[in-house]
Symmetry: C2
Subunit: 160 residues, 2 copies
């Protein structure tokens, strides 16, 4: 399920997450590797699915979405198809995570106005009770994963 990544692989991932369009020649300089070796590493990261793709990042406000909200949905039923259909139709729903806990789903919703947000939340409320938090600002905008130094915490005991 998970791939073995060495320090160089991580360097490459960090650079490509910062700028998905750096030329291989420039990337190879930054990771201190030859262009051909760098190229091969990137090809491998793509082939093994570590890199799932390259995307342009769009500023929500500039694109007309003045309101961002996190909506939690408590979904009593077990029939999840109707919700899936709503996710398809409603492009304002940017992300939907199924989670443990009382709230089965956590959604990220972009709206052009509070009235617009109300509309979406109304549609979601048809499925269960919702809790909405409007986002003031991204204290930390989404960033991709970075390597972890192996940690050993003495206060934490094994599960079994």
């Amino acid at each position: 399920m998970s791939e073995d990544l060495d320090a160089v692989d991580w360097s490459i991932l960090i650079e490509l997450q910062k700028d998905g369009r750096v030329p291989i020649t420039e990337l190879s300089r930054r990771v201190r590797l030859s262009a051909s070796a760098t190229s091969e590493r990137v090809r491998r990261l793509e082939a093994t699915g570590v890199i799932t793709g390259y995307r342009a990042e769009v500023d929500l406000t500039k694109a007309g979405f003045a309101v961002l909200a996190v909506v939690r949905l408590k979904y009593p039923g077990s029939r999840h198809d109707p919700l899936r259909r709503l996710l398809e139709q409603r492009s304002e729903i940017l992300e939907c995570l199924r989670t443990t806990g009382d709230d089965c789903y956590v959604l990220k919703v972009a709206a052009t106005s509070m009235a617009h947000l109300e509309l979406i939340v109304n549609e979601l409320a048809a499925f269960g009770s919702t809790t909405t938090n409007v986002v003031y600002s991204a204290t930390l905008p989404y960033r991709g994963p970075r390597p972890t130094r192996p940690t050993r915490d003495p206060s934490t005991n094994p599960v079994v």
Copy 2:
């Protein structure tokens, strides 16, 4: 604050959000525009900040993060600097949104194991009470914004 985007601009944004590396020539075919006009549009979207950048997308599981969680933080104090410092240090925290409501912050945390997650949550708990939901799966993985047809909902009244 927000830029005026016509249908062609949105076509371009949709394509570049799907594949941030499509050649201009291919992109121009998809949006049915000449290469030079397409190039100029893209340049403008970048210059006005609608497109904030291009990023490689990394699969969390393949990168060794078996556990993803949404952590909400109820932060009683008003001194937010210590939290900012933690966000800097802890690369496992992928995103942090400041929101309205009882929970001041919503964070996305990637961990290699439940023990690892516990470690991070312990650190966050130093700031306030936390609520953690572990993610089963992304019912809808993050997707960027798409255009909205102007909606007029009769059941919704103006704010003032």
